[in-house]
């Protein structure tokens, strides 16, 4: 943790991440307005004390909607990444442990998933099952599984020759114990870094899907829908689009910086002489 805060980038990333997480968690309490409250007479208001970031086409307070958008972004990304990380890691460990034929099967499955653009998958799922937040999370999770799987598998393969695993076998540790106490802690590092680097990716995917209407349904405030709304009424006011886009950009940047600082801190080779 100390090493992460050693660079300005790391500090900045940590600050932004902290801010987004706080916003996401406490949005209902710190948002001055109900994000869905209409005040059509007040539409397209500029920056003011009453509306810190103005209002949108229906007079809804943008600041409040932005905060709730953080909740959506974090909810979707953290849930889907958690699902993908757990299942992907399990599959990756499995791939490294089973005979070659099964391993090939798993890797081919990874490749198939990886070759699908998430948008196309989202369209297909929505067409068949109808839109919903759960589907969104599911789609994103599935598209991320191959990445976690491959990293987990590579880590386990690297570890296979490590003397301490053999030492544990000699002491009599069962394969399960070896996996849980010795393999997992030693492969966790890169996986955690991967998870944090995926957050900005997922936020963007979610925003993108919401933008084209395949994500969260209105009136739920996602940054994607905010951008869409703002974009639709660009001629009336540039403020909503700007505000929402900046929020998305800042969050993405913050998480990327955080992830990179985490990666540098975790990798024992980085930063050593």
């Amino acid at each position: 943790m100390r090493r992460m805060l050693a660079t300005p980038a790391g500090v900045l990333g940590a600050l932004i991440v902290g801010a987004v997480l706080l916003a996401a968690q406490f949005a209902p309490w710190i948002a001055p307005y109900d994000p869905d409250a209409l005040a059509v007479l007040d539409r397209f208001a500029g920056l003011s004390r009453a509306h810190l970031l103005g209002t949108d086409q229906l007079g809804r307070d943008l600041y409040s909607r932005l905060l709730h958008g953080a909740t959506v972004a974090m909810g979707v990304s953290l849930t889907s990444i958690a699902i993908a990380a757990l299942s992907g890691t399990a599959l990756g460990i499995l791939a490294a442990s089973v005979p070659a034929a099964w391993e090939r099967l798993i890797l081919v499955a990874f490749d198939i998933i990886a070759s699908f653009p998430s948008i196309v998958l989202a369209l297909a799922v929505v067409a068949v099952f109808g839109p919903s937040n759960a589907h969104l999370v599911g789609i994103v999770a599935v598209t991320l599984v191959p990445q976690f799987g491959r990293v987990a598998r590579a880590q386990v393969l690297t570890l296979r020759a490590a003397p301490f695993l053999e030492a544990e076998r000699i002491l009599g540790a069962s394969p399960l114990r070896i996996m849980w106490s010795h393999v997992l802690p030693n492969i966790a590092g890169p996986l955690i870094v991967l998870a944090s680097m995926e957050v900005p990716v997922v936020i963007t995917i979610e925003a993108g899907l919401s933008f084209i209407g395949l994500g969260v349904r209105p009136p739920l405030a996602s940054w994607g829908t905010l951008i869409y709304d703002g974009y639709s009424y660009l001629s009336d006011s540039t403020l909503p689009v700007l505000v929402a886009s900046l929020a998305l950009a800042a969050a993405t940047l913050g998480f990327t910086l955080f992830g990179e600082a985490l990666r540098d801190a975790v990798d024992p080779r980085a930063g050593r002489g």
């Binding site: 003397p163 030492a167 544990e168 076998r169 000699i170 002491l171 802690p185």
Partner: protein
């Protein structure tokens, strides 16, 4: 008397076709210290792994106290592991990097379900004997010296009170000034616990000093086996003689020509004939068997002591 552990005609061939061990027969006398000498490609590491049940033998049998290993393992993997332990060559590498020494030292007892208090008391006793200070307990393996890591490995192996301990290069990587201390401790513990100790090492003076019997291996075969003192003063096999002559200051340095042949295609006849200073025609075609020569067991047609092998009937 039944040897503590025994290999009978053990061969190991890897799936790739490389033969690591060929017809190895060897018995470890109970409670004694036996030395295993060999260079790279000799198969000594594979032998240790077969003994520990980490590597399956392609042929032959492995016995512990007269019982075949597969039966012992089937009866209880854990029970066998309590009987036979091994010190790996890379001591620091044998300690799981993300665990504190405290957890690492408590682990053997946890794995085997030994009563915690009693086992920890024993561990603390071992730590005292090995000179491991308690303030090392909260450190991680990469934070302690090579010598300390080695002692931790010894403590972990011995807390289970095994009957057999295989030490793979116990002095590798240790400074000369601390080797003696570690070996003294190992020998003290061996005597107290009545351990059967197999020491693999290329450090010949150590082998000479601490073992009662020595086994010399070359390219997957045992080439000589006998009481240490006799083996060192009058080696029977030319390879042993050459190896012993490499010690600086040893009289009559014998330089072997050529490189160690690849284990994939061992030479025909005697495997050592390509480098042997006294190879003769018979050595290139006829593979010598192990036989007795002046109290040593040797695999050579023309051993340096005793009589040459009798000619086979044409």
């Amino acid at each position: 008397m039944t040897p503590a552990a025994e290999l009978r005609g053990v061969g190991v061939t890897f799936p790739s076709g490389v033969g690591a061990l060929s017809n190895v027969s060897l018995g470890l006398p109970a409670g004694a210290v036996t030395g295993l000498v060999g260079e790279s490609g000799s198969g000594k590491t594979t032998l240790c792994r077969v003994l520990m049940g980490l590597q399956a033998a392609s042929s032959g049998t492995v016995l512990f106290g007269g019982e075949p290993l597969p039966a012992l393992l089937a009866r209880g993997r854990l029970a066998f592991r309590r009987q036979a332990q091994m010190l790996l060559q890379d001591a620091a590498g044998s300690l799981s990097p993300r665990m504190t020494l405290r957890r690492l030292l408590a682990e053997p007892a946890a794995i085997h379900g030994l009563p915690r208090k009693e086992a920890w008391a024993r561990t603390e006793g071992l730590m005292r004997r090995l000179g491991l200070s308690p303030d090392l307990l909260d450190k991680y393996p990469h934070q302690v010296s090579g010598g300390q890591a080695r002692r931790v490995a010894v403590a972990r192996a011995l807390v289970l009170r095994p009957a057999l301990l295989v030490a793979d290069e116990p002095t590798a990587g240790l400074d000369v000034s601390v080797q003696g201390e570690l070996l003294n401790l190992l020998l003290d513990l061996q005597a107290e616990l009545g351990l059967t100790l197999l020491v693999c090492s290329h450090n010949l003076p150590v082998i000479r000093r601490i073992t009662t019997e020595t086994v010399v291996m070359y390219l997957g075969e045992v080439v000589e086996h006998g009481p240490t003192a006799a083996l060192f003063t009058s080696p029977a096999h030319p390879y042993t003689a050459a190896l012993l002559s490499t010690r600086p200051g040893a009289p009559g340095r014998i330089t072997l020509h050529g490189e160690v042949p690849s284990p994939v295609h061992p030479p025909a006849g005697c495997r050592f004939h390509t480098r042997c200073p006294q190879a003769q025609t018979r050595c290139t075609t006829e593979h010598p068997e192990l036989r007795q020569a002046a109290g040593q067991t040797v695999r050579c047609h023309y051993p340096l002591v005793g009589d040459p092998a009798p000619q086979e009937m044409a």
